[in-house]
């Protein structure tokens, strides 16, 4: 937790964000032995998709990976419209009867997760859905909790926590909130 990402000082801001690779190791620790050996991983674009790929390679067992873009299921479409780049949801496996781990980089309001669960059910009825997140920043607006959490942080409302990729390595940073929908 020492590798701080420099941020603009804001009242109530933590001294440091967790180091992303350490958070990933902590998340893996919690998932190992608990996630079913045949669980299918579904990453939410874009940070969750990167995370799902890395987890699939690191977790014991065989884990097919799918990706979901929740744009068509978001509850703020009426206020904000569609994002400019909507990715294609790709679930290259049977959802019906599957054990699924939904994966996102940052858990905040819970609205993306709600949208993702709705979309998954349009592909079939899974046996079980768990939720794994790299970072839980609190601030929930829906009764949703993660099954597996890599790290917990407190960040001011006007900032968003962003996962970046540098080659194979993950880094976390904070950015001012844009008009884009919140996680």
């Amino acid at each position: 937790m020492t590798n701080a990402t420099p941020t603009k000082t804001t009242e109530g801001l933590p001294e440091a964000l967790p180091e992303a690779e350490q958070a990933l190791a902590a998340l893996l620790d919690k998932m190992r032995g608990s996630v079913a050996m045949d669980a299918k991983l579904i990453g939410i674009y874009s940070g969750g998709a990167w995370l799902a790929e890395r987890l699939a390679a690191l977790l014991p067992g065989e884990h097919p990976v799918g990706f979901i873009d929740v744009s068509f299921y978001r509850d703020d479409y009426g206020q904000k419209g569609l994002r400019a780049k909507v990715a294609t949801t790709t679930l290259p496996f049977e959802v019906e009867g599957s054990r699924i781990v939904l994966i996102d980089d940052v858990l905040y309001t819970g609205r993306s997760v709600r949208a993702a669960i709705n979309e998954i059910f349009d592909y079939g009825r899974p046996e079980k859905i768990e939720l794994a997140v790299l970072v839980d920043r609190g601030g929930r607006e829906l009764p949703i909790e993660a099954t597996y959490v890599g790290a917990r942080v407190t960040v001011a409302r006007e900032l968003s926590v962003v996962l970046n990729r540098d080659g194979d390595r993950f880094e976390l940073s904070v950015e001012p909130v844009t008009g884009e929908p919140r996680a």
């Binding site: 068509f72 904000k80 569609l82 294609t88 349009d122 079939g124």
Partner: protein, 323 residues
């Protein structure tokens, strides 16, 4: 005609307010529509072919001119977005009782319409409706032109662009031929504007003198009267429907004569590039503008055009209706 601002299709923020024509439509908006259509294609492959974006919205299909196919694809697009769709064949209802176009619109607005999909024999009718809504400050209601007179058919142009990009990946190196009755074709007009805007370096119009608009070169198009010369080196061939009523006048001698010179046959197709694609907006006249063997052959992407048309219309509707 009837323009209040340089581009009444865009709102003050430069976002899409209505879809009336591809003429003057910025390339970024066209590109965004095409990009947005991509994820909608795969929705049709799921068990549940529906997303909740337009849940609770009411879309009126106003067809003052018949078109089963276009109306059906708009209806499917709206339903796959979870909208409620009302189909009005206005040609056979209120206008016969003397109601004006704008009175019809006002009545449907009073029924809480959110979107109008309009086809009309009169060029400019969708513009007129858009302008009327703007004057009444009904900015939350959107208009999509589903074909007006000889003027424009922008969603057909967009689905043609989507199909071309799907098979050819980029526009910047292509030679595209539009063949047949360009004069009467709003499909051709919309496509030519779109192709030019997206940077296609060579657009060709191939047809007899009597079926090409006199100023077609002004659109940035090369004209060919000999189809065999015009098809040489083409990546994309767009065949237009020859409307049978054209044959009754003095524009053409006969369907057989037209087919001989401008019908797409395997031997004429062989003059284009080996990987050329063949498109047609439908409905086809087999044996008039296109030979059956070509329409059903391996170069034909005519049926994928129909499938992509639904995704493109979903993209347009969801870009219009979002906040």
């Amino acid at each position: 005609m009837l323009r209040t601002s340089p581009n009444p299709q865009l709102n003050a923020d430069g976002a899409l307010q209505h879809l009336l024509t591809l003429e003057g439509m910025p390339a970024e908006i066209i590109e965004r529509i095409l990009d947005t259509a991509v994820p909608f294609v795969s929705i049709a492959e799921r068990d549940v072919k529906k997303v909740p974006l337009l849940r609770g919205k009411t879309v009126f299909n106003l067809f003052f001119e018949n078109s089963t196919r276009t109306r059906t694809t708009f209806e499917i697009a709206a339903k796959r977005l979870s909208a409620d769709v009302i189909n009005l064949n206005v040609g056979v209802s209120s206008t016969n009782k003397g109601e004006t176009l704008l009175d019809t619109i006002d009545n449907l607005v009073a029924m809480n319409a959110d979107m109008f999909v309009v086809r009309h024999a009169q060029s400019g009718a969708p513009h007129l409706i858009a302008q009327h809504l703007s004057e009444r400050q009904r900015d939350h209601i959107h208009v999509i032109n589903a074909g007006d007179g000889r003027h424009a058919h922008p969603t057909q142009g967009l689905l043609d662009l989507f199909t071309i990009r799907h098979y050819k990946h980029e526009f910047s190196k292509l030679t595209v031929a539009v063949v047949g009755d360009v004069l009467h074709s709003r499909v051709a007009r919309s496509l030519i504007h779109g192709l030019r805007t997206m940077g296609v370096p060579e657009v060709r119009a191939i047809g007899p003198q009597t079926l090409l608009p006199t100023a077609v070169e002004k659109l940035g198009v090369r004209v060919f009267h000999d189809m065999r010369i015009g098809l040489a080196g083409c990546d994309v061939i767009v065949m237009l429907r020859l409307q049978s009523e054209r044959m009754k006048g003095s524009l053409l001698p006969s369907a057989g004569e037209f087919f001989k010179h401008y019908g797409l046959t395997a031997d004429k197709l062989a003059l284009a590039k080996p990987d050329a694609i063949v498109m047609h907006p439908g409905p086809m006249n087999r044996g008039v503008e296109i030979d059956s063997a070509v329409a059903d052959g391996k170069h034909s992407v005519i049926l994928p055009q129909v499938t992509f048309g639904i995704a493109v219309r979903m993209a347009v509707m969801s870009m219009l209706a979002g906040g």
